[in-house]
Symmetry: C2
Subunit: 248 residues, 2 copies
């Protein structure tokens, strides 16, 4: 079942991306759109809220909505999944487990994952055949068994865990900064020790708010960037801090 407002949003998005509404131009008014799509004004507002959340249009009280961009932003919850991002963008990618072991949770991990035993996995992932990412992931005890059954060359852990135990990575918090490569990082990525890496630390939970994993991912400089769109003075329908996507 696809919602009406999604269909309207899709149609408007296509018009924007195709150039029918150039960047800087005004969108039709809500009343006009409501008439055109034979929908209530509220439904149209939901549709344009989608576009606003994608950073395609902006709005302010009293003036017509304005087209801000015409680049497809890949709406990424795939911030969690290297594989899903790489596939969606047509990249050749791979991955390999380097190390994997169970151990007791540290104090910090107890706070984030809920204590007990955890599973620590070190993965090296590549893009177009080049190693670009060192992933150090710590899984909560209750998913450890499922992760251990995955093949070492598993392409997408996210998808595999969904298929095997129906696990959905629903919410995430991410910290992004820069760090120097340590000896191990440097060795795995083929860069010099101390050279810049883009680090993404994240904690992921299920729909129920149950913590699944925390991870420390380090990208070789120049391989990817994070892209964010945001706006000020937006109302909550629009309040989005921005869509977020990887950038090759």
């Amino acid at each position: 079942m696809v919602a009406r407002y999604e269909l309207i949003a899709d149609e408007l998005r296509d018009e924007i991306l195709s150039g029918a509404h150039p960047v800087g131009s005004q969108l039709p008014s809500e009343a006009e759109l409501a008439g055109r799509f034979r929908a209530a004004r509220g439904t149209v507002r939901q549709a344009v809220a989608v576009l606003a959340a994608e950073g395609l249009v902006g709005s302010r009280q009293g003036a017509r909505r304005i087209v801000l961009g015409n680049a497809r932003s890949q709406s990424f919850a795939e911030l969690h999944s290297f594989a899903q991002w790489a596939r969606a963008n047509g990249h050749r990618f791979g991955g390999q487990v380097i190390e994997q072991r169970r151990r007791p949770a540290s104090a910090a991990e107890c706070a984030r994952l809920g204590g007990g035993e955890v599973l620590e996995v070190l993965r090296l992932r590549s893009l177009e055949g080049e190693p670009v990412l060192v992933e150090r992931t710590v899984y909560a005890g209750w998913v450890a068994a499922a992760v251990e059954t995955l093949p070492p060359g598993c392409e997408s852990v996210t998808e595999a865990l969904y298929d095997s135990i129906g696990l959905v990575f629903a919410y995430g918090e991410h910290l992004i900064d820069a760090v120097p490569a340590n000896t191990r990082d440097a060795d795995l990525l083929g860069v010099r020790r101390g050279s810049p890496l883009l680090r993404q630390r994240r904690t992921t939970t299920t729909h129920e708010g149950r913590p699944v994993e925390t991870s420390d991912d380090r990208y070789r400089a120049g391989s990817v960037a994070f892209s964010i769109r945001n706006s000020i003075g937006a109302n909550p329908l629009v309040r989005q801090a921005g869509d977020l996507r990887f950038w090759p």
Copy 2:
């Protein structure tokens, strides 16, 4: 004029932050909240959408909303303003213009800012007395004059430009990655050449979609991080990729 849903959101947020709704617990149903606040269901939904956009609660059809976090996220459009972020977080900060000159726009800048002459400014900014940020900003020709009248030690360019010509930085697009410090960066920040910097490239526009500036900001590693909260499978009211804030 403060909207009703904002007041409701404020009250619920306070309850969450104060621990009345612990992380992992369920929020009251929309119907209950509507009764309690004597508001229509739609208004209550707007209020909880605010909290969802802040990453405090999550939701899924059929189940009650769940409390995901209890940390205040400083809802940052202030991603644009080092001064506003630093002040809001109680940091001691400063800034100084190192270089400033007019020059013709490059080809790339023409595309982003609209051509003609531009104003290039190099600023060094500090936190707690330590230099942490090298800011290379290119202003569009139409704001150049206003920027040139600012004192070299101006704390907040964003605020100063609002006060002087009513300019509002409304929309931004940001690219975040890691780069090695070049000789100049290293010299200004007091780090070794080649050491990691966190880079934020941004383009900012007005409410009307008119480009104002593009900037290349480089943070010393360890001084700040970017924090993002996001969710999957969210509906557009909630679709926010996440609030975004600096992190000391």
